[in-house]
């Protein structure tokens, strides 16, 4: 059975050049970047070089890049680290109900610590309202965190507009750009964000590496305690091979972003067109006009997430519901619940498909055909 991967929003295949760039680091540059001898210096030199590369990719200064173990860690630092460090300035945090759990659960932790958290609600198109944001913003607000591209629907959020509103407000503005980074050109100056999260494995880089951009002057309390790495903001010996892998992934991504986006856009429309040709009934969750090329979330009326995903997998198609599982069983999506209300059928009959390096025109068409077969068979039962 030929397997077809349509879950690039979960993770992506590692680019061969990324692997190639990592091997010599393991083989030749084992030194600790903090060491004061030549082994250390050699490591430090390539670490700083990588830092420059990723900083440049978002128009930042290299001093503003903190390497982390994951997007989750970066999100946690951005919310919890800044809220704790700035609590004498205020007690209010604004985020959205369509964040990744790395942000949502960090916000819940802040609530436990006594912070007051406002969760902005999306409309049916999956979009956060800038107007509602403006209404909820107070003098007491110290941190605002809004996801740049939602990981379940692919809907692009109005980061720039919110950034603009915060220009003369002391609150720190963070965006989780894990899904956005490979799909959109991001410039921190234009977005007017103080913090931005990126993860390596979503852009064909290695797992176990990500970074937080934190604008110079951002006060963050560390979540870990140890050495003085990352300008005292994130202790622990740097994961140098992964950092170099990330650097390569970023270089490739910046170079190829436009052509990749074009290709994935084509995959998405081929995929959707084939479903239509096969007369599958579906609707797109979220506003297709405001969606990245890589993600599409489809609702199949009368179907059920668990049955669909299991059947797809047995047919060799890897997709996901995009939301959390408990004991392996799929819970209704919190993002779709926020968009449509918890009792809406779409929260339990929707599947996320996400395109990337593992796809080709042929295999997205084949996937759509197999999906159609599954759905026809289920309708016949």
């Amino acid at each position: 059975m030929k397997e077809i991967y349509l879950d690039h929003a979960a993770t992506t295949p590692v680019h061969p050049q990324v692997i190639e760039s990592m091997v010599p680091v393991y083989q030749e540059v084992f030194g600790n970047p903090s060491s004061v001898h030549q082994f250390g210096r050699k490591a430090r030199r390539i670490l700083d070089d990588a830092r420059r590369t990723v900083a440049r990719s978002i128009g930042a200064n290299e001093k503003e890049i903190i390497f982390t173990s994951s997007g989750t860690e970066a999100d946690n630092m951005a919310l919890i680290g800044t809220a704790r460090a700035n609590k004498e300035k205020g007690n209010h945090v604004i985020t959205t109900s369509i964040e990744h759990h790395a942000t949502l659960h960090a916000a819940e932790q802040l609530e436990k610590e006594g912070f007051q958290v406002t969760y902005l609600q999306p409309d049916e198109s999956g979009l956060i309202s800038v107007k509602e944001f403006q209404e909820k913003l107070t003098d007491d607000t110290i941190v605002v965190s809004v996801i740049a591209v939602n990981n379940e629907t692919g809907v692009i959020q109005p980061i720039e507009k919110i950034g603009k509103m915060l220009e003369n407000h002391p609150a720190y503005f963070h965006t989780d750009a894990v899904q956005a980074y490979g799909a959109l050109e991001l410039e921190v100056e234009e977005l007017k964000v103080d913090m931005l999260t990126v993860s390596g494995h979503k852009i064909n880089g290695p797992k176990g590496i990500g970074f937080l951009y934190a604008k110079e002057g951002t006060v963050i309390q560390t979540l870990h305690f140890g050495g003085e790495q990352e300008r005292k903001r994130r202790p622990g010996t740097e994961n140098l091979p992964a950092v170099i892998g990330l650097q390569t992934a970023v270089e490739l991504m910046v170079e190829e972003r436009e052509s990749r986006v074009e290709t994935y856009k084509q995959y998405k429309s081929l995929f959707l067109d084939t479903l239509l040709e096969e007369q599958v009934t579906f609707s797109i969750n979220g506003d297709p006009e405001r969606m990245v090329a890589t993600i599409v979330n489809l609702s199949f009326p009368g179907m059920n997430v668990e049955t669909l995903l299991t059947n797809f997998d047995l047919a060799g198609i890897a997709a996901s519901s995009g939301s959390a599982c408990t004991a392996g069983s799929v819970e209704p999506s919190h993002v779709l619940s926020a968009m449509y209300g918890a009792s809406d059928e779409r929260t339990v009959n929707s599947i996320r498909f996400s395109f990337g390096m593992a796809n080709s025109q042929e295999n997205v068409i084949e996937a759509a055909r197999k999906i159609s077969q599954v759905i026809r068979r289920l309708q016949a039962i």
Partner: protein
């Protein structure tokens, strides 16, 4: 047309226990296209976020990886609540003693789950139950598991022909001891895992505490059948006929037992001695009958019956009263026959079917005091 095993998809319900693990192993060894599925029927997440379902699913993952079969989960919490748990509470409210395992098999494992398996293209559904199926001229019979001590046909008495046609019980011909041995031989992750006990949604928790979360307890008087007050009870639903523990009646003579319930006046009847006369009956009336072969006996039938799990069979005469009502006459009087429990009929090794006990009779009169 008989399909080749490798083209025959068998969906197996995996609980994370040793029985279903070995059942999956045996199917895999027979060359089937095996798909492991974990059913999540109950949300038992505690205040620390710990949930036994998560732990059990971890075991399913480990075993399925050892066997190299795909694994998935399916959530039947809503169906379980509607079809099993509501029934469970309703029966307690009515002063009866429900059997949620029988209901779970009927409504969830061999209905909702079977439907799910079929939606996944399954040719068969397998479980780790100790029971056997045999087909004779297109009619399916359910036989006791070879391990008499583990035989689970009592809980499977409501299965129909349509279900049995789709079911495989890979452990039916095995002794439990052998199942453990196979698990150890293959170094299965669950080889040494303790068997689960009790009702699945209550687990190891205190039954009384659990029930009190859902049903208001109404304490009342404990009396003998002659009306002598012997103390107080905590709520009728906490007591089962024939029960000795937890009455707290001291004094001389033989220990005290629950012999009946008066729902209307909220009285718990107690009597002295394990063999108290009031605990004994001669016949019962049962409804919700399922005849596994689909054929109800004509008029009267001699067979054996079990009135509770793991009890020896007793010879009985079954009189069919109507489509959904039988009278079961005991050849020897029986102790503590409990309304709400199942009565299951056997002819030798064949399980003929079963029904729910509604009334208990002595000298052809319903015993009103048993609830």
């Amino acid at each position: 047309m008989v399909k080749d095993p490798k083209d025959t998809r068998v969906v197996i319900g995996m609980s994370g226990g040793v029985d279903s693990s070995v059942a999956a192993l045996l199917l895999k060894e027979q060359g089937y296209d095996v798909v492991g599925i974990f059913m999540k029927n109950w949300d038992d997440t505690d205040e620390n976020g710990v949930c036994t379902a998560t732990e059990d699913f971890e075991d399913v993952i480990r075993v399925c990886n050892q066997l190299d079969i795909p694994y998935y989960a399916v959530n039947f919490e809503k169906q379980y609540w509607d079809k099993v748990f509501r029934y469970f509470l309703d029966e307690y409210k009515a002063g009866r003693t429900p059997n949620p395992d029988v209901m779970c098999n009927k409504e969830i494992k061999f209905k909702a789950f079977l439907d799910h398996a079929i939606s996944l293209g399954a040719d068969y559904l397998a479980t780790g139950h100790y029971a056997q199926v045999s087909e004779i001229d297109g009619v399916y019979e359910m036989l006791r598991g070879k391990d008499n001590n583990k035989d689970q046909t009592y809980f499977l008495n409501q299965l129909s022909q349509d279900v049995l046609a789709k079911v495989i019980f890979p452990l039916g011909h095995l002794e439990k001891k052998k199942v453990r041995e196979i698990a150890r031989e293959h170094d299965l992750a669950t080889a040494a895992k303790k068997d689960s006990t009790g009702i699945c949604f209550i687990g190891e928790r205190n039954f009384k505490e659990f029930l009190s979360e859902y049903l208001p307890a109404q304490p009342g008087e404990m009396q003998t059948l002659d009306g002598e007050v012997k103390g107080r009870h905590d709520g009728l639903m906490y007591y089962t006929l024939g029960q000795r523990q937890g009455l707290g009646i001291g004094g001389a003579g033989e220990p005290w037992f629950v012999v009946g319930k008066n729902l209307e006046d909220n009285i718990l009847y107690v009597g002295q001695g394990f063999h108290h006369d009031a605990l004994y009956s001669e016949a019962l009336i049962a409804t919700q009958i399922n005849w596994i072969s689909r054929k109800a006996p004509n008029g009267e039938m001699e067979c054996t019956a079990k009135f509770r799990y793991r009890q020896d069979d007793s010879p009985v005469t079954v009189q069919v009263l109507d489509d959904d009502k039988v009278k079961v006459i005991f050849h020897e009087s029986q102790r503590a026959i409990t309304p709400g429990q199942a009565v299951v009929f056997y002819d030798g090794e064949v399980c003929l079917g079963g029904a729910t006990i509604d009334e208990v009779l002595k000298e052809d009169q319903a015993l009103t005091y048993v609830g």
